[in-house]
Subunit: 324 residues, 2 copies
């Protein structure tokens, strides 16, 4: 990995801090480097402002003159009543080189940010660590491309694919490390959705119960007819997620009918599996009918994107393979 | 790993060559080392004779004089009409040091082999790589301790724990690498068992279809009432495996009722899972009722003992944790 890629990896790590809190803005990360020293760091703040570049420039102050900026997304071109365009800010601060992971598909920028920088004599490079940056900002890109949030489906199962005993007992299949990891994942999503059956059976809080992250609890959404609990949103079909305000990252947590409905509608982008080393036997399966017509049609849809042990349990992450 | 452990690891690897073909004899491995050179190698031959030590001594010939022998199991003490005791053979060949992984629980030996060697002035070490050797000879030890074969349950499932679509379609869930691995595992077992339902629905051959291993196909056993296919054995309950002649390693291949019956009877020692990166939804679950009364009772029973990718599929091996 060369120096540009290393600095961009650090900018991507910063962008993750905003994940699940910046919709409808992208969660961008930015690092400013002068003579091999990081003089400014920024990431999109909750609600979308300040932008990552503005925050990093503030920290760098005079250090930005003659420095390089690493930005996970093309700096914005459009001015807003909430602040000036970042491409202009970078140029005026004396940044002489801007390294960009991905261009911004937003028609208000879409190449114009990079062009303005180049016109001002700034050296611009694009496409550095692009795939990694797009994964970190998947909510923004999914919203831009498909007009809906990026969806993670979480399942916690036994080795034989059960999410509960036949009587519904499901506390606990996985251990404390896996459950803490689930809470961390919640903090990285704008909203969490569960089905009406789960709401009525479990009255789940769906909040983040990790020290220091209590204020990162996402909005809650119920799938199904009827009145949701106070403070919750409700939708009646998976396709309705397109209309969920302030939600670019959505986590679907259960139960089996809800999971099946999202899979059947092909609205799951990321499968987050926790598997405990236990056998349950005839219990409640993780999924119901997903409309599979042939085994062959199930192949080639999911790619293993990551895995780790969490105590005795194994976490696996699969990404939906979609034609470009 | 010191030199003794390295040589013993090589002897254990040789012992695996006899696995599934030596019952009721243990599948022992032996290496003879003189001045840092391996001068003889042996493993228990099909049917149980010659023993590993006899084969290695034949290969070493005069090279055995003053050499060390690494044996995965204590050399036998008892003479038989099929050959002299190995402890006597080693001593008479001039072996001056014998390194043993595990003592032999067979009452006809049980320490007497090592004692005879020591009485003859041979240096004897025991307990080197004992756990690994016992795993390689698990069939023999399970028969000695529990009076039944060592049982491997194989399951090939989707990510959501299904072994087929609802209509029974199961060809194929896993890919060619995983299926080839299953055939290799068959070759390491004396017998394979499936339920009567699987026999009638699939008329499975259950043979080893790997080039060069065609003659390693195990005996076939049906679980259930009724007449088995020609050349098959039949038993009516999982507990009947104790009476299966020539079977110290048994592989259980399906279907769900048979798997559940063996798990419910706590007769599975090794769980061999193949998981394909696909979702099936409402299909046929890997397992039916196993009599689980509480989730807590499912914990602490299985330990991850190995894992690897086979093409796009993941193989996982779990071992039953049993009190010593």
């Amino acid at each position: 990995m060369n120096a540009d890629a290393r600095y961009m990896a650090a900018a991507i790590a910063l962008s993750e801090r905003g994940r699940g809190r910046t919709a409808p803005n992208p969660n961008v990360g930015c690092i400013i480097v002068r003579n091999g020293h990081v003089v400014g760091r920024g990431w999109t703040q909750p609600g979308g402002r300040p932008h990552a570049e503005a925050m990093a420039l503030t920290e760098a102050a005079e250090g930005a003159r003659g420095a390089s900026a690493y930005v996970t997304l093309e700096p914005c071109f459009h001015q807003s009543h909430r602040g000036p365009a970042c491409s202009l800010l970078l140029r005026e601060a004396g940044i002489t080189r801007v390294v960009i992971a991905s261009s911004d598909p937003d028609p208000r920028t879409d190449g114009q940010g990079a062009a303005m920088l180049r016109d001002g004599g700034v050296e611009v490079m694009t496409g550095i660590m692009e795939a990694e940056a797009c994964t970190a900002m998947a909510g923004f890109f999914t919203r831009q491309r498909h007009g809906r949030p990026h969806v993670t489906l979480k399942l916690a199962t036994s080795l034989d694919g059960q999410i509960a005993r036949a009587n519904g007992e499901s506390q606990w299949i996985t251990g404390p490390q896996a459950r803490a990891h689930t809470h961390l994942e919640r903090a990285r999503h704008d909203s969490i959705l569960v089905g009406r059956g789960t709401v009525e059976a479990d009255q789940p809080r769906l909040d983040v119960r990790l020290p220091g992250l209590e204020n990162r609890s996402p909005m809650r959404v119920m799938l199904g007819a009827g009145k949701p609990p106070k403070g919750w949103n409700a939708i009646t079909a998976p396709e309705d997620i397109a209309g969920l305000a302030g939600t670019d990252f959505l986590m679907v947590e259960g139960g089996a009918r809800t999971a099946s409905a999202f899979i059947a509608a092909d609205l799951v982008d990321r499968l987050l599996l926790y598997r405990a080393p236990i056998l349950i036997g005839a219990g409640r399966a993780a999924m119901g009918d997903i409309g599979l017509e042939k085994l062959g049609a199930a192949q080639g849809r999911w790619r293993l994107a990551g895995a780790r042990m969490l105590g005795l349990d194994r976490m696996e992450l699969y990404e939906r393979i979609r034609a470009a």
